[in-house]
Symmetry: C2
Amino acid sequence: MTLAHVGVGKNTRNVVGGRKLGPIGFQAAGIACGIKAVEGAKDLALIYSEVPAKVAGLFTRNRVKAAPVLYTRRSVRRGICRAIIINSGNANACTGRKGLMDAEDMARLTASVLHISHQQVLVSSTGVIGHPLPMKEIKKGIPSLAAELSPYGFGDAAEAIMTTDTYPKVAVKRLNIGGQEITIFGMTKGAGMINPRLGTMLAFILTDAEVDSGVLSNLLREGVQSTFHRITVDGDTSTNDMILLVANGAGGNSSLHHGDVRVRIFQEALFGVMDQLARAIVRDGEGRTKVVEIVVQGARSNREAEKLAFRVARSPLVKAAFFGQDPNWGRIMAAMGDAGVPFDPHKVAISFNDVLVVEGGVQAKGTGQESVRNVLRKEEFTVLIDLRRGTSQASVLTTDLSYDYVKINASDRT
Amino acid sequence: MTLAHVGVGKNTRNVVGGRKLGPIGFQAAGIACGIKAVEGAKDLALIYSEVPAKVAGLFTRNRVKAAPVLYTRRSVRRGICRAIIINSGNANACTGRKGLMDAEDMARLTASVLHISHQQVLVSSTGVIGHPLPMKEIKKGIPSLAAELSPYGFGDAAEAIMTTDTYPKVAVKRLNIGGQEITIFGMTKGAGMINPRLGTMLAFILTDAEVDSGVLSNLLREGVQSTFHRITVDGDTSTNDMILLVANGAGGNSSLHHGDVRVRIFQEALFGVMDQLARAIVRDGEGRTKVVEIVVQGARSNREAEKLAFRVARSPLVKAAFFGQDPNWGRIMAAMGDAGVPFDPHKVAISFNDVLVVEGGVQAKGTGQESVRNVLRKEEFTVLIDLRRGTSQASVLTTDLSYDYVKINASDRT
């Protein structure tokens, strides 16, 4: 597994370890077309498959859905994708009928430039809500963008979908299926409005494997449960989120069907890519100085463990204490008690990494404050909560709540 | 209605407009006994009724309940109260069996000094979780505290229950019931961990009215629904919250029973005091620069309106935008869409005070950005959300999310 942090700006590197990032038969590009106010900031990305590819998608469950979500959800049902056109800097959300027409226009113009059917062009947007898309800039940008398409363009594309992200996020995994080398490539953006049920998050995962459509949908749905649905930055869920999984079969393996033993190999690699992307989103969470994994074990059910972990992971008081490196475990207990999950406070044990802090619901005896503080000074650590009620567990990755989170969201139209 | 912000520190004034704050037959005191690290910071309060009083109480629904909550909940069931002993600076929560014994010891020592039954002494604590109470200081403090009891001691008591509050919060209402002047006095503390289902919030409401026990309980339960349960600062709910309503009958009215027309007069005044106290908590919310009322109307049910209002009121992104005075209504729409309440985004109208910002789910036409910004510059304003689905409504009072909220909670053990 290579988690590549492709450089930004002039140093953009589209090649990792001397190899192109993308799978066989895919090309990409990213340019600045003038949607973002900052001169030269990339804001338009294109992903292209040289052959028709199978596609599966998951979309935000927010009741307020952006126009590209409504448009692309419909197109994905047809199951075939040739291209994805993505803009950042404007969400095309809460934009009414004009927004829907703009999304369709983006697809049609991309299709005409690429000489493909507009029904096979998917559309995605991210950025500020409630402003009409600057279609003049986008229409001028699409032909230039298409002219830039290349197997080496994935770094530019990953950069062009960023909003408050501080770096592009990609992950690549190469695996061998029946003697064929297969690539799974993913790119994502996140930073704020991150929450399960898809925060402001776009993710595009491409593979040159040949995969049966039903398998593709199932793997995507199953994979997000343990990856993208297990991260939180601020508990806010956006209007624009989508994850697309595209398989063009250019790798040459025989198709992966239900029950095929090779599906497990592919699944493991795919979930690995999704996990890396999800973690990259949290690592680049708005203003974060910490990445904390909240693990709840000893629960009666996974659902119970998950509810508790999320309640702790979202508590502003707990997150502010992480920022302050304050071993204030009382806030963790208070958040747990408010999760609507039954447990016996007198059985709870809490550790920060391997340092036991709470035992039997009270301060653990003999634990030095200094050893606790040493853990809290780390950039990444784990809070392990043991309920001692059962055998189920769940984990959630979260950030701290910092001055910079407030600053970013108070002063920027993102 | 007099909302009295009693002065702090050396300027503590226990008299408002030349009159004592408390109702007839009540005395109070507040002293520094050494629980708080800051020299001279008041941390021990006592409320005393010269005659046995009826009492009703509501307690945190957090599953992790502090020792004084467990102790006092049991005592309140007996229905009679002579005194309330309260400490700040230490929550006596997650302190195991010792915590329960300490709470009982506080009641017993107070009772013995006042020569009353310990079963009629209620105990309340607020502060940091997980540390044993410094009983040496408290035991030394209680006799001195009792010696300070006076009808003029309510300002000191209100000061002694503060944690991160920046000023004591009291409210007084005088009313006439059948020719008798009756006083309803309330004091509260809040600041952080504020949320419905009782945040870190203590409230003590005293009246010299004679009120039937059943009426007292019903009024308390009903009153919190529209007051203390309709405020949020950070969505965190504490282990220690309690509201006690104490009626000693010293005012001399004949008892208020169910069906008595005078109950409505008393109720109105009581709810007024509770509303003032609840608003005072939000106004003193940790680090807040804004107080914003989120009103959802045109809903199919009150429950639906309430869920939506709370989802918006708790969104960190919405709250950060309030702090930044940013008219980012898209974040309000996004939060609404995530509330789990059905509505048609294309029917939504949103106003900031009387300035229409969203109409039909999109930016309202003809609204000047400057008039919107003028509202957002105010310290207090209303966000009115109309769903146009029905006739029900709900409102929630919230704060913004500021640097100082993070600072207070990252750097203080509160």
